[in-house]
């Protein structure tokens, strides 16, 4: 399955809030560490290397760091 560009969340605002909440009591360093763990868990869940490659590309492009 290719990377989803259209909305795929049943509760978009709730999901967004859950991510922010997870960082609520964290320092910047802890937040970065949490994000790393989330990326690893989700990458494994997705499994598809092509989807991940595409996601990395889109994320970097939005940072102005296209490769």
């Amino acid at each position: 399955m290719p990377l989803q560009y259209d909305l795929n969340l049943k509760d978009p605002d709730g999901t967004y809030a859950a991510i922010i909440d997870a960082h609520g009591d964290l320092t910047d360093a802890e937040s970065a560490a949490l994000n790393a763990r989330l990326v690893l868990l989700l990458a494994n869940h997705i499994g598809d290397a092509e989807v991940l490659r595409k996601a990395i590309e889109v994320a970097r492009t939005s940072l102005g760091k296209a490769r």
Partner: protein
């Protein structure tokens, strides 16, 4: 005889010395390290005489390589030194990984029975070389010349002229073929002006090999960020003779002379193993490593192998082990070319296959290095995330990378590969290009039966061999490059080769890699694959 590490080899003046012209030899090997020795032994097994030149008077300075992989042991077994290595080496298969004070992961390298050789043995490099030298002396074909150094090289039209410096003055050799196995600082590379391209890493590691009686399981222990070496890594591993390898990451800035002072090194040893231990030092060494390789391993009649051709970080034990595979790959090709049974172009496939292997090894060791010594804050963040998750989440354990241990390279893109008559993914471990997998036969082992020439194996659970297969195999055994005929019906072997149901025919190369395979037998197809495997078509 002196202990392997204390052996001293005198200089002996050879008959080539003091001749008016250079002495001619078909094959000269420069370097009597593991790779030069394996090349000489393999050439001897095929009847070739060699002259082996080494500038040292001793075996490996220090233990250096300690982990010898299954494939190296199988190659040494074919050359007659496998059992000696097995008897002296420490067999192990379990590794444990710690993060801070907690164990996060444990692995078993060879969960499967039915192989003659274990996944790994640990044995000091000087022992590997010692058994190599012993075996070399048995052959009567290997002229080992210690304390002689190659100092000049000239390519002639159809040979290579070498200047040799010795304690008794210089002489010259004219070789048809030269194997450059002269190590990471290769003189031949320099004499030929060849660039060694790649990365040099700044991280420094301190090796302390200590002798100590210690009642510990024979396991590889690797620590990330332990209390005794905060923010860095450490390794503990057993060798023969109650010698233990301790390896500490010491950082980029550490002062070389300070680190290797015994009292400072002893402090590190005690911080890992306890204040009250009783030990003596065998070897203290500080190293930085590099990931580099020659662009081409073949330069006409000079063939580079081992560290002279490529250098990798030690994580994964891929240096010596891949060098042994270089020799294994090169020698049968050189043998056929010298005998005029294969075109010169066969030697180009040495470069194609072993450069591909070097890239694989460089990729794995570079990834391990980045995991062990992260180069950025983000890299460290992910690394620590993997280690923390590995404690509870199975998926993360597979991401922990303390070195991906050496296994034989499969030459997937090789120009020598013939037909794969199997369905995609069927018995993928033994696809064309892959090294043969061992299996028990009645009173022996499959790899021993395959031996060191081309071999054709009919794998079938049916003991009755069809008439056309028997006739075809007999015909193949009569060719100029003969194919040894084998029939195997044992259950494990047939299962490993995808012949539990329908019978299969495999063509193996002299280095025991699969050339081609089919369900069923077609002599014409086998002959075509054979021609392809020796670069005739």
């Amino acid at each position: 005889m002196a202990h392997a590490k204390d052996r001293v080899f005198p200089h002996r003046r050879s008959a080539d010395h003091g001749q008016p012209g250079p002495a001619h030899h078909p094959i000269v090997i420069v370097g009597a390290g593991p790779v030069g020795l394996v090349a000489a032994l393999d050439l001897a097994s095929k009847g070739h005489r060699t002259v082996v030149i080494d500038k040292k008077s001793n075996l490996s300075d220090g233990s250096r390589a300690i982990c010898w992989a299954k494939r190296s042991l199988e190659i040494m077994d074919r050359l007659g030194a496998g059992q000696a290595l097995l008897d002296k080496g420490i067999t192990w298969k379990t590794g444990k990984v710690f993060f801070d004070t907690r164990q996060v992961y444990e692995f078993d390298l060879l969960p499967e029975a039915g192989h003659r050789m274990p996944a790994f043995i640990n044995l000091q490099q000087y022992y590997f070389e010692h058994y190599g030298v012993e075996a070399a002396q048995q052959t009567g074909l290997i002229d080992l010349r210690w304390q002689e150094e190659v100092s000049g090289l000239t390519m002639t039209g159809d040979g290579v002229l070498l200047d040799i410096a010795t304690p008794e003055g210089p002489y010259r050799l004219l070789a048809d073929w030269v194997i450059a196995a002269d190590g990471a600082r290769s003189t031949l590379r320099r004499l030929m002006g060849l660039e060694f391209e790649g990365r040099v890493f700044q991280d420094q590691f301190l090796i302390c090999d200590i002798k100590m009686k210690m009642d510990r399981p024979v396991e590889r222990w690797f620590w990330f960020d332990p209390p005794f070496n905060r923010g860095r890594s450490a390794l503990l591993h057993k060798q023969a003779d109650d010698v233990w390898r301790l390896d500490f990451q010491v950082g980029n800035e550490a002062d070389r002379d300070e680190e290797v002072r015994p009292e400072n090194a002893a402090r590190r040893v005690r911080s890992m193993l306890g204040e009250d231990i009783d030990f003596t030092f065998e070897w203290i060494s500080l190293y930085r490593f590099q990931s580099r390789r020659l662009q081409r391993f073949r330069h006409g009649r000079v063939l580079f192998a081992g560290d002279a051709a490529h250098q990798v970080s030690p994580f994964g034990a891929r240096g010596g082990n891949s060098g042994v595979q270089d020799a294994d790959n090169l020698v049968w090709k050189l043998d056929l070319v010298i005998k005029g049974q294969a075109p010169d172009g066969l030697l180009d496939s040495y470069d194609a296959e072993r450069a591909y292997a070097a890239d694989e090894n460089l990729l794995h060791t570079t990834r391990s290095t980045d995991f062990i010594a992260p180069k950025s804050a983000a890299s460290r963040m992910f690394r620590d995330g993997v280690l923390a998750l590995a404690e509870t989440e199975p998926f993360a354990r597979r991401l922990v990378n303390s070195g991906r241990l050496s296994v034989a390279t499969s030459y997937d893109q090789s120009p020598l590969n013939g037909m794969d008559g199997f369905a995609r993914g069927e018995a993928g471990a033994v696809r064309p290009g892959a090294a043969a997998l061992d299996a028990p036969l009645d009173g022996g082992w499959l790899l021993q039966q395959i031996g060191g020439g081309f071999a054709g194996v009919w794998f079938s659970r049916e003991r009755h061999v069809p008439e056309e297969v028997a006739r075809g195999q007999a015909g193949l055994a009569q060719r100029e490059v003969p194919v040894k005929a084998l029939v195997v019906s044992q259950e494990t072997a047939c299962a490993r080769y995808g012949a539990a149901g329908a019978p299969a025919y495999y063509l193996f190369r002299p280095d025991q890699h699969v050339a081609a395979r089919w369900h069923g037998f077609d002599q014409g197809a086998v002959e075509a694959a054979l021609d392809r495997a020796i670069a005739k078509s």
